[in-house]
Subunit: 345 residues, 2 copies
């Protein structure tokens, strides 16, 4: 039985990165000639078949959508998938999901895997590592071969394609404004240490809301949590000093952790400490007190992404030529809204 | 561009079920001759290509594992997927996921989709509807064509294949025994209204623990919840009458709901009411009080399932012939354990 050699095996054999192999096979000038030739010779020797989208597109429609998401143990992404599935099934499409596990290499490998004739188009959210590296050649490649890609949530301006996002800055702004309207003056932002675009936008919204309301901006009140298990001491100290009377957390895990710490210290939520979290999750609904959230609308995001992709696929099928392609890509901004619960007054 | 006709389209066109089309194409005698011939003629006319696993297996290995799970907004299944991904990636395999959405038709269609050359083997958990119908022809078909299937959690005795399960009866027994050891005498079982095998096993374990300890079995204390939003009144009435002093819930959503209702009624957890839930979920970890759980060990379940599948795939590859196939399938029982938290004393 003949084994299929994969991108990963070539990379391992030649001790270069997957990205280098992938770019060399496309004859990218970013890669030095020697490496490029070596990779190509090796691939040829082992009869490596690069993904041949153009060919597969000509031959058949799979009526299948490929999803690539960073992680699965994350309520938000699950709701997006449900939104995609719902619309896709209604229109007679199947859905295949791959996880990048927030790894650039896995994202590249999974796109290669799916683009190889299994699907008609992608719906994807970038891995953290891809956003950090800023290397999007695998996506450009797929698009340039005529396979449509719709990005959601974690998107990049460096790729021209359809996008579905929320206005993270505005949503954060509105949450902080809500806290200010309720008389809170010392508002902490509890956020992640990472390179994901949405984190930055939420911080911008937080700062803007403070500024527009003439409140001082105190850098110490931006708490960056690397590991939710180890953050207790930092937060307890700030609470001890009554450094803040309200918290805007970028996810519900941070929010519920803070509420637990406050509870242990005898600080009352919402009386002494108001809490709002960014999330579509279920912890907020079932914690005590229940937590006020900014809904990310994952379901809506998924369903809009699927509609856009399917429209594009079916326009292609009917031979509708889109002349100035760059012009017609759309970015849909999904509305967010505040779900008020017990953690704010 | 030529469209590929799908099982679903044939079913719709001829106004028969997907299962009927699928069985007719395999010339199953379960289907009447007229229907069978009609389906086959139609499929031929439209050049329908049935999944041709034998052929694809001969030609190449994809180094890809296909997962089919009932739903994704479910922490347990997410942890199983993480377990599978971890082992698969380590061994150089990619993973593709499809959701059955607890629908028999979607399960059949997704198996058809993936078996068609995209993957080397399946890891799957049955949809509720499949368990209810008891129709497993799509799985038998795949296995008989030489593609290995490993089932986990929701399995069936009607299919001979490798299985990874927990001992749901024993786990339930131990949880109830734990409550009895702590002096509880009136223990309620809060479970689902469905046809999933694991639910029945858990009920058996609950009843057995009561019997072994000489406690009376009261049918009114088996509370079957159809819709978590509408169960409040039933539970409140039972609590009002002090009908039970402990609860064993088959999932954490039921557990946290009961705790919330008790809290509203001034009933103290764990003093007046002890609660244990079956789950790997995160609500239990963050609710107030935190909830004692029977861990389902999803991560371990996924990682064992992946190991078994990959061993089987690689044995095949090395041409190891397994003579008495039926004999060598294994059922691995993953150990569960109690994570004691605040909801029990």
């Amino acid at each position: 039985m003949k084994k299929k050699v994969t991108l990963k095996q070539i990379a391992k054999e030649l001790d270069v990165s997957i990205s280098t192999v992938s770019k060399s096979l496309r004859n990218s000038l970013e890669i030095g000639e020697e490496t490029r030739l070596k990779v190509r010779a090796f691939a040829k020797f082992y009869h490596y078949k690069p993904n041949n989208i153009a060919l597969s597109l000509k031959n058949r429609k799979t009526k299948t959508i490929g999803i690539i998401i960073p992680e699965i143990v994350h309520y938000f992404f699950s709701t997006v998938i449900n939104g995609i599935e719902h619309v896709a099934n209604e229109k007679g499409y199947s859905v295949i999901i791959c996880l990048s596990d927030d790894s650039f290499d896995k994202e590249v490998l999974n796109m290669e895997l799916l683009a190889n004739g299994s699907i008609d188009g992608f719906i994807m959210s970038l891995s953290k590592e891809t956003q950090f590296k800023g290397d999007f050649h695998h996506i450009t490649e797929v698009i340039s071969q005529g396979m449509p890609v719709v990005m959601f949530d974690r998107v990049t301006n460096d790729i021209l394609c359809d996008k579905v996002i929320i206005n993270d800055e505005l949503a954060a702004y509105e949450a902080v404004q809500n806290l200010i309207d309720k008389g809170r003056k010392k508002i902490a932002l509890v956020t992640t240490v990472d390179y994901v675009s949405v984190g930055k936008f939420r911080t911008d919204g937080y700062i803007k809301a403070l500024r527009d309301n003439g409140l001082p901006f105190d850098e110490n009140l931006i708490i960056k949590i690397e590991n939710v298990e180890n953050c207790e001491i930092t937060i307890a100290q700030l609470l001890e000093n009554k450094a803040f009377d309200a918290v805007f957390a970028v996810n519900e895990l941070f929010a519920v952790t803070i509420i637990k710490i406050a509870h242990k210290m005898g600080i009352k939520v919402p009386e002494d400490l108001a809490v709002i979290a960014f999330t579509d999750g279920i912890i907020s609904k079932y914690s005590t007190p229940t937590i006020t959230t900014v809904s990310q609308n994952g379901l809506e995001m998924g369903s809009v992404a699927a509609k856009i992709l399917i429209e594009r696929l079916e326009a292609e099928e009917e031979g509708i030529e889109i002349e100035e392609k760059d012009e017609v890509y759309k970015t849909v901004v999904i509305e967010t809204h505040l779900i008020e619960r017990e953690s704010t007054l």
